[in-house]
C-alpha cells in the first residue's frame, strides 16, 4: 500500500493534511463570528472589517507571508508574547504553516458562510422567538442548522485552499522537510533537484486526487443537507 510513495513523500502528505485540517478547524469559529458580523451586524467599521478579511485574497501571498513573519516571529510583537505566555511558536514550525494557510483561506471561508447566513430568512428566527426561544437558542436551533451547508462549503473550500497554499507559507515558515514542507513546497523542492521529477509527479497526481475528492465530498454533503431546506 505504501510502496508507491517513499517515506519522505508520505511525510509530506501527512504534514499537508495535518496543516490544512488544523488551519480549517481553528479558523472556523472566527470565520463564523466574522461572517455573522458582516451579514447581520450594523456597526461602524463594518466595511473596514470586510476589507481586512479580504486582503489576503488580493495581496501578493509573499507580502502576507512577510507580514506574518514580522508579526509572529519570536522577535515580533505578537510572536514574542505568545511564546512567553503560552510557549506557542509559529515561526518555522508546522503551526506557522497552519497559520499562514488559515489566513490565506479565511476570506473564502467567510464568504461562503456569509452567503449562507444571508440566505436565512430572519422571519424564521422571529417565529422561533415568539415560540419562546432566546436569541442564543434561536441561533443554535434555527440559524446554525440552516447555515450548515454554507459552513460545510466554506470549510471544504478553505481546506482545499490550505492544501495548495505556497507563497505565504514558504515566506513565513520556509520549506523544512518534516516540519513545514507541504505538498506545493515539496513539489517545488523536488523540481529544483536533478532526478526529482518522479517524486514531483507522484505528489502532483496525489494533489489532484485529494482536491477532486474534497470537491466531490463537499458537493455530496452540501446537496444532501441543502435538499430538505430548499424544498420547504
Amino acid at each position: 500500500m505504501t510502496d508507491w510513495l517513499t517515506p519522505a513523500e508520505w511525510t509530506v502528505v501527512a504534514l499537508s493534511l495535518k496543516v490544512s485540517a488544523t488551519a480549517t478547524l481553528a479558523s472556523l469559529p472566527f470565520a463564523l463570528l466574522v461572517a455573522l458580523a458582516l451579514a447581520r451586524g450594523r456597526f461602524p467599521g463594518r466595511q473596514l472589517l470586510n476589507g481586512m478579511v479580504h486582503l489576503p485574497l488580493i495581496l501578493p501571498p509573499v507580502v502576507t507571508g512577510y507580514l506574518l513573519l514580522l508579526t509572529f516571529s519570536t522577535q515580533g510583537p505578537v510572536g514574542g508574547f505568545l511564546e512567553r505566555a503560552f510557549g506557542l511558536v509559529f515561526a518555522f514550525r508546522w503551526t506557522g504553516a497552519a497559520l499562514a494557510a488559515a489566513i490565506m483561506a479565511f476570506p473564502l471561508m467567510v464568504r461562503a458562510i456569509r452567503l449562507g447566513i444571508e440566505a436565512v430568512d430572519p422571519k424564521l428566527e422571529q417565529a422561533a422567538a415568539t415560540l419562546g426561544a432566546s436569541r442564543v437558542w434561536v441561533f443554535l436551533t434555527i440559524t446554525l442548522p440552516l447555515i450548515l451547508p454554507g459552513i460545510l462549503a466554506g470549510s471544504i473550500l478553505a481546506f482545499a485552499k490550505a492544501m495548495g497554499e505556497f507563497g505565504a507559507t514558504i515566506t513565513f515558515v520556509a520549506n523544512i522537510p518534516g516540519e513545514t514542507q507541504t505538498l506545493p513546497t515539496a513539489i517545488y523542492a523536488f523540481l529544483q533537484v536533478p532526478g526529482g521529477e518522479g517524486s514531483a509527479w507522484r505528489l502532483v497526481i496525489l494533489s489532484i486526487a485529494l482536491a477532486m475528492t474534497a470537491l466531490l465530498v463537499s458537493e455530496w454533503v452540501a446537496t444532501r443537507v441543502a435538499r430538505r431546506i430548499r424544498d420547504a
Binding site: D121, K123, L124, Q126, A127, A128, A129, T130, L131, G132, A133, S134, R135, W137, V138, T141, I142, P145, L146, R228, I229, R230, D231, A232
Partner: protein, 374 residues
C-alpha cells in the same frame, strides 16, 4: 384574560394610533391592506417597538413606553401564526410542533395528542415542511403556536396565502381553536367571510385608526359601517341551529325569526351554526311574497337606514333577535316606503348562501345534547 392595546407608531407616510381591548374569543382586526393591522400585531408580539403606548395582557404589562417596560418576544407567551406559516424547514412536523412546547416546559404528550387530534396532524408528523401542502403547513403552524402554551394567540392573515379549497379545509380547524381555547385570539384579516365566520369581536381599522369596534353581530349588521367593510362583502351574521337534514340536499336551520333552508351543511341535528347573509343577496318585500322560488322568507322590522353615495342604500332589519342587512336601491326604498319601524319580509335565495359563509360552533359543555362535529 383580556388584551389591552394602546399604541402610537409613526411609519414613513403613515401614523398608527389605536386603542382597543380584546376579550377571550376571536377579535378580528379588519381593514384594507395598509390599514396598520400587521403593525399592531407585531407590536403586541414584541417584534416591533412602538414609539408610544402600552400593551398589557390581563394586568401583565408586555410593553409600556412610559415606564420603559419591555418584555422581549420570547418571554411574552404569545403564539403567532404568520401568513406564510414560517415552519422550520430543517425540522420534521413533529419537531416543529414541539419546538415551543419544550421551551414552555410542556413536553407532556397529553396536550400534544390533543392538539394533533384537533388539527388532524397525526398523518403528517413524520414529514418535513417541504412535503406539505399550503393548508397542511398552516395547520402545523397553528398547532405549533397552540403547543407553545400561549396566553394569547395572534393570527396574521393565516388563510390569505391559500386558495379557496385550502381555505375551506383550514377554517373549521380555526373554529375549533376558537371554541376550545380560553385565551384572546387576535385575528388579522381583510376577508369578510373569515371575519363573519370566526369573530366574536370586530375592530375595524382604517388608515391606522380604529373606526368601529364591538361585538361581531353588532358591527357587521351596522349599516353605517358597511361602506368601510366593503359594500359587496357587507352582510350580517345570524345564529342558528340545525333542525333537519332533508333528502333533497337541503339543511333546515332554525333562526330566531323562523326557519332557513340552506345548501347541505355537514352537521348533526342540533349543531350550532353561524350564517353570514350578504346584504346584496337580501330582497325586501312589504307583503309576504307568494309564487316565489326563494325558500327563505323571514318576517322583519326595519330598524335603521343608511343611504350610500351611489344609487344604493343599506337597510338594517330586526328579524327576531337577529339582525339582517339588505342592500337595495334608493328607488326601491322609496317605492316600498321603507322607513324605520315598517314591517316587511326579507327574502334570501337558498343558493346565495355559500358554503364558506356557514360556520360551526362547538356545543357548550353544559348542553346534554352536545355531540362532537366531524
Amino acid at each position: 384574560m383580556t388584551l389591552s392595546v394602546n399604541l402610537k407608531h409613526r411609519l414613513p407616510g403613515f401614523t398608527l394610533d389605536v386603542a382597543f381591548e380584546a376579550p377571550p374569543g376571536v377579535t378580528a382586526l379588519f381593514g384594507r391592506s395598509g390599514a396598520g393591522k400587521t403593525t399592531v400585531v407585531n407590536a403586541v408580539a414584541g417584534l416591533l417597538r412602538p414609539d408610544q403606548g402600552r400593551v398589557a395582557l390581563q394586568g401583565r404589562v408586555l410593553s409600556d413606553r412610559a415606564t420603559r417596560t419591555w418584555i422581549p418576544p420570547h418571554k411574552r407567551r404569545v403564539g403567532y401564526v404568520f401568513q406564510e406559516g414560517r415552519l422550520f424547514p430543517h425540522l420534521s412536523v413533529r419537531q416543529n410542533l414541539t419546538y415551543g412546547a419544550r421551551l414552555a416546559g410542556r413536553g407532556n404528550s397529553g396536550s400534544f395528542d390533543q392538539v394533533a387530534d384537533l388539527l388532524g396532524l397525526a398523518p403528517l408528523l413524520g414529514r418535513h415542511p417541504g412535503a406539505l401542502s399550503g393548508g397542511e403547513k398552516q395547520r402545523v403552524a397553528l398547532g405549533r403556536a397552540l403547543l407553545s402554551d400561549p396566553h394569547l394567540l395572534l393570527m396574521d392573515e393565516p388563510l390569505a396565502a391559500l386558495d379557496a379549497p385550502r381555505k375551506a379545509e383550514v377554517l373549521p380547524y380555526l373554529e375549533r381553536i376558537r371554541d376550545s381555547a380560553r385565551i384572546p385570539i387576535l385575528y388579522v384579516s381583510h376577508a369578510m367571510d373569515e371575519v363573519a365566520r370566526l369573530a366574536n369581536t370586530v375592530i375595524v381599522l382604517e388608515g391606522g385608526r380604529v373606526i368601529r369596534a364591538g361585538p361581531a353581530t353588532e358591527v357587521l349588521s351596522d349599516p353605517s359601517t358597511a361602506p368601510a367593510l366593503g359594500l359587496r362583502s357587507a352582510g350580517a351574521v345570524l345564529e342558528g341551529r340545525v333542525v333537519a337534514q332533508h333528502d333533497d340536499g337541503l339543511t333546515e336551520v332554525a333562526v330566531s325569526a323562523g326557519h332557513l333552508f340552506l345548501p347541505r351543511v355537514v352537521a348533526d341535528i342540533g349543531a350550532q351554526l353561524r350564517i353570514r347573509i350578504a346584504a346584496q343577496d337580501v330582497i325586501l318585500s312589504r307583503n309576504r311574497p307568494e309564487g316565489l322560488s326563494a325558500l327563505n322568507i323571514l318576517p322583519a322590522t326595519v330598524s335603521a337606514l343608511h343611504p350610500g353615495e351611489g344609487p344604493g342604500m343599506m337597510v338594517q332589519l330586526q328579524a327576531g333577535t337577529d339582525r339582517l342587512l339588505a342592500r337595495i336601491t334608493r328607488r326601491s326604498a322609496q317605492a316600498l316606503d321603507i322607513a324605520p319601524g315598517r314591517s316587511c319580509f326579507a327574502v334570501v335565495k337558498t343558493v346565495a348562501v355559500a358554503r364558506a359563509d356557514i360556520g360551526q360552533r362547538a356545543e357548550e359543555k353544559h348542553d346534554p345534547q352536545a355531540s362532537p362535529q366531524g
